[in-house]
Amino acid sequence: MPKNEAIKKALVIGSGPIVIGQAAEFDYSGAQACRVLKSQGINVVLANSNPATIMTDSALADEIYLEPLTVETVARIIEKERPDGLLAGLGGQTGLTLSMQLYESGVLQKYGVKFLGSDIEAIKKAEDRELFRETMLKIHQPCVPSDIAFDVEKAVEIAGKIGYPVIVRPAYTLGGSGGGIAADEAALRKIAATGLEMSPITQILVEKCISGWKEIEFEALRDNCGNAVAVCSMENVDPVGIHTGDSIVVAPTLTLSDKEFQMLRTASLDIIEALGIVGGCNCQFALNPDSFEYAVIEVNPRVSRSSALASKATGYPIAKISTMIAIGYNLDEIKNEITGQTCACFEPALDYVVVKVPKWPFDKFAGSSRTLGTQMKATGEVMAIGQSFIEALMKAVRGVEIKMDSLNREPLGSDDILTRLACPDDVRLFTVFEALKAGVPEQTIHDITKIDPYFISCLRQAAALENEIKEQPLTESLYLTAKKAGFPDSYIRALTGAAELPAFRYSYKMVDTCAAEFAAETPYFYSCADEHCEARELARSGKPVIMVLGSGPIRIGQGIEFDYSSVHCVWTLKEMGYDVVIVNNNPETVSTDYDTANRLYFEPLTEEDVMGIVEVEHPIGVVVAFGGQTAIKLAKALDARGVRILGTSAESIDIAEDRERFDRFLESINMSRPKAVAVESTEEALVAARILGYPVLLRPSYVIGGQGMSVVRSAQELKTYFDAILAGGVSNSVLVDKYMPGAELEVDCISDGLTVLIPGIMEHIERAGIHSGDSIAVYPPYNLSDTMTKKICDVSVKIARGLGTKGIVNIQYLIFENELYVIEVNPRASRTVPYISKVTRIPMIELASRVMLGEKLADMGYKEGLAEPARYYAVKVPVFSFEKIADANSIMGPEMKSTGEVLGIGRTKTEALYKGLCAAGIDVHAGGKAGRGILISVEDYDYSDAIRLAEKFTDLGMKIYATPDTAAAIRARGLEVTMARNIWENNDIYDLIESGAVNYIVYTGAVMDSSVGDFRLLYRKAMNARIPCMTSLDTALALADVISASYDQSRTHLVDINH
């Protein structure tokens, strides 16, 4: 069947903000979908609240709505745009659920919008657990014994029938939020209650626990006439019981014989046939390792994180092909772009092994449980390609940026090794390695971990090789063996102590979908230690080559926005006539799509790995400015190896990054910073703090996202926190800054050395002390005098010029008592670039890339200084993933905790903020008129703001509740307030939450004493009741203004940023 010509206009729904369980993979799939639709002449209407995405770029869609992904708003977009069809399966669970809600509410039917790809029946059959089980029963596909419960009693009854342990899986939640394994009734009651609360339809599945079985996934595709292929098989190294997003995964499966493999492949195809899937679908199975018994765990009738991984692992672009199918094509009518000569109706053959390793945020959530289970906790992942499991694993481990180049890790805690093996945490891989080295039998390790003996034996061989390198002289042949096993030189050096290593060069093989059966046209490479190098053989265009370094795995503090920048840089350089090579190891991203750059190297971003590619590509320069800290931290090493760093020099980067050099630089331009003292011990810190005066800000140098930063208000707090920082193994000095709770502002500048362009200034709603990534940022500033605006521009120009910036620089300011201070300067693209680019329509990355290569801003029509403000206010609101890391401390501070962001665009600041809050999932008008209240519990330094807040909410007709001391302070101002006892006193607060009497909570408190535990409990209760819990008075005050403006989603101004 050729293209469906009835589709002239299609609505694509994106996945919204990055949260745990839903990361950049949907920008990758969404961007592919948009490009396919556009190339087919279809008018693309895009709805996505996430500004940091490629898919929301003006070139990717015709009409782009950075609007809240809610039924009300998207219904209005449909009403306005009248699309013929809706692509529901490309925007993750968010896009799929919203599409279903649009159908359930009749919006799609009303406007005649058809589902493109899988229809509503197919989606329902896959998503609704009851329908799904019925369907599976019909086609004799075994499901795990389970039943559905709508209340705790029913859950207990089911478990009684199928036997403990059981897994609780809440319906319609992301990344398995709220689920867990219950070993007995008591545990089940607790988990079931949480699960029911988390499920938007108060439904959970109670399932027989088959922990320890193999977890196998297939990515399948089916077209309009029933052709179906299994694109990729994947095997979780961690058995069933650990969410696949938290598992180390290999592709293809490595321990299945053809019989088991075909059994599950056939099952996948039978399932998608029975469901009537049209497009991509992910099928997850549990396979008993001791028999042919298996069970279908779950089916996702959409592209997914696994499909992104499968696409990168095989070279087969699942999202692109799914979209082609959705608009009518069949698999045999679609070309395999990698070979250019074969058709897409085939199953890729790999001649390498792929390993995915998750990236977890535990470094940000000190004290949170690192135990992994059915609820996903990873924020991102890396993929590595090798010719053996170990080679790929070694690459993945050094690429996941956990400061490791081997499998040797200091144990977490002091438990004995067998106890630690039994704990499925983020370091278990390393515990297994440690156990093997300590002589624990492989069988014992398998019995405890249920990791397949094949993988354990691979690790045993790596341990043996490590030992051989340590004990034997490093011959050329032994060295080559080590390189084939993926050991980096730093690791080999550490083992041998040898300064000189034998000669070696990396070779590069191609990912070609077909195991070399056909010639491939798309240069997508991975390194190996073979002699024969396909990258060196490749015919070159003769154009100068530029290498762009990507940003590695998505993590808190370094998210999708850096991929946005990397991709834009690549596009610009290609347009300028360069041959562009990208290096990155994140399978979720657009940058690692095989047709983004001229050549893709799927490699870890370490000095050795990057230098290997430099030796093949001989780039005229390397771009480090767009790949976040991952790329920027390689600048010095590459520079020292004679590689030209394009744009801002390695020297200037070092000035900006090294705090002492930076202080001297600021002095030279007569600028001040909050007073800071570098200290190395608690004693020095106490002295420094006494001189500066409390509160002070503590921070280690060279960090991402404010890791390890904290505001402390007393000597006691300082001691506790300083001890914690030192225990965390911070090697550099720690800085003690005077903490000044002023207004924070942020500027991104582009400089060509002559002209410095400032596209816009952002003002944060929250005062300094809260990480800029966690602050609500408003563009343009709403509270900035002309004099101060001018001053900021002048200083920015001075800094950009003084640092010799050639490209882009991000500067963060603080205004305290009408004095301007510089907080920090990042000599690279920042988190705010995509959002400011989109709102101001200044193509910041394109300009930065061009000036790096010598073009002048003046020639491109840009003037020095601040650009004219845009027509709209744009407000960036952070989004958190605390429901996934249930025990995380959610109090905002200098350490970043948000995983993603949304944008609200409006005619006024308040409208933009209203939209931003809606998009972030905060119900601004929660509770209706009656019984609305707010609970305030703050520290004494926040009393004056708390009183203002109480006044505002009283004026809104809301009831004020407060804990005793806060209540006293508010009452002293003559305001009516109801006292609620503190959490440790009685259940007042919980009762308020559960009864629905309060709709908002404002809490501030010490972040480090025992009360944090109470706060965690409070937060969790509030989260389950969907009550926003704010830890900054500024956020709450802004919210009060939004509430009083009484916007609602039926009356906002829809902004199409493309028009």
Binding site: C345, F346, E517
Partner: protein, 356 residues
């Protein structure tokens, strides 16, 4: 480990390590792209006379599982990048290296199999030798031909395999080196299978009065099987007939068609095959170096399937003769079972034949 070399007839030398039997071997070097199913590959008699290269780098992970064998291990040599010495599977009975030794198959590991595959892809299949020396007798290598291989791999005597469940049909299976799964696909559909070795006269097969005739897969150049072709001529049209792989090629030759040698054949489990009349494309398991020239059968039969990648003939229908044949392997093992329905089609044909 002992050093070994794979030397191609074009002079390329790969240095690696000896695996399996400590012998040397000359054969036609072909690559197979399946990522699982090495046991089925090694025991597929159609590989007789060939040195098989596995493009997937990790081989032997799930050990040796005798129930999965398809037939006699007839490969001349085996080439892998990495051979697993610690297999893991609940059915595994040992290491693959021991299997190779027991079957006196020599092999080589530790070589760049991708580079080797690219050479075969670009220059076509060629002879090679797994040798202890980097300078083996190249004249012998060049002189080698895959010849007389059907006789080597066919079963020595006729056999009867009972139907599973109630017996519905009796099928004569001509064994040119048949994969076990062909008989199994028939048996589980209620067919009693009477296997006849290659070299059995057609009259003898017809004398058994089967409901249908199944022509199996097998190794080598189809055109050299002059006797078999003659027997097919005697049988075709008399009973419903279904041919697979070599059986497909021999039928074409028996009906006056031609076959040709493909540059590097199809040896894998991911080959797309498109229905000529119909909209479906199926993923199939394949192992062949020769193909039928569909145009040579104009007026005799109709092309039923074509390869969606290279357009080569993947199946023929001979409606007037109650016969159909396919190049690929609907019996799977290894590879997808997506076209097993063709056996049902054969059963339908036998049902109509019975009623006629």
């Amino acid at each position: 480990m002992k050093k070994a070399y794979l030397v191609l007839s074009n002079g390329t030398v790969f240095e690696g390590y000896k695996i399996g039997a400590d012998t040397e071997a000359i054969g036609e070097v072909v690559f197979a792209t399946g990522m699982v199913g090495y046991l089925e590959t090694l025991t597929d008699p159609s590989y007789a006379g060939q040195i098989v290269v596995q493009t997937f780098p990790l081989i032997g992970n799930y050990g040796v599982i005798p129930p999965d064998f398809e037939g006699r291990c007839a490969v001349k040599g085996y080439v892998v990048r990495s051979l697993c010495d610690a297999p893991s599977n609940f059915r595994s009975e040992g290491r693959l290296d021991a299997f190779l030794k027991a079957n006196r198959v020599c092999g080589i590991c530790g070589i760049d199999t991708r580079r080797l595959t690219k050479i075969l892809r670009e220059q076509g299949v060629m002879n090679g030798m797994i040798s202890d020396s980097p300078t083996p007798p190249m004249r012998d290598v060049a002189a080698y031909r895959v010849e007389g291989v059907v006789a080597q791999v066919t079963s020595p005597a006729a056999q009867e395999l009972p139907a599973q469940g109630p017996e519905k049909y009796r099928v004569a299976l001509v064994d040119y080196g048949a994969k076990k799964s062909i008989a199994q696909c028939l048996q589980k559909r209620g067919c009693r299978v009477l296997t006849f070795p290659a070299g059995t006269p057609g009259e003898e097969i017809l004398l058994a009065n089967p409901d249908g005739i199944m022509l199996s897969n097998g190794p080598g150049d189809p055109a050299e099987n002059v006797f078999e072709i003659e027997q097919i001529k005697k049988m075709i049209g008399k009973k419903p007939l279904f041919g697979i792989c070599l059986g497909h090629q021999l039928t074409a030759l028996a009906l006056g068609g031609q076959t040709l040698k493909l540059k590097y054949g199809h040896h894998g489990v991911n080959q797309p095959v498109k229905e000529v009349c119909g909209s479906r494309t199926y993923i199939t398991s394949q192992n062949h170096g020769y193909a039928v020239v569909a145009g040579s059968l104009a007026g005799v039969g109709e092309e039923s399937f074509v390869n969606a990648n290279d357009g080569s003939c993947e199946g023929m229908d001979y409606p007037g003769l109650h016969a159909f044949t396919v190049q690929f392997h609907p019996e799977a093992n290894g590879g997808p079972h997506d076209t097993e329905f063709l056996f049902d089609r054969f059963l339908d044909m036998m049902e109509r034949g019975k009623n006629a």
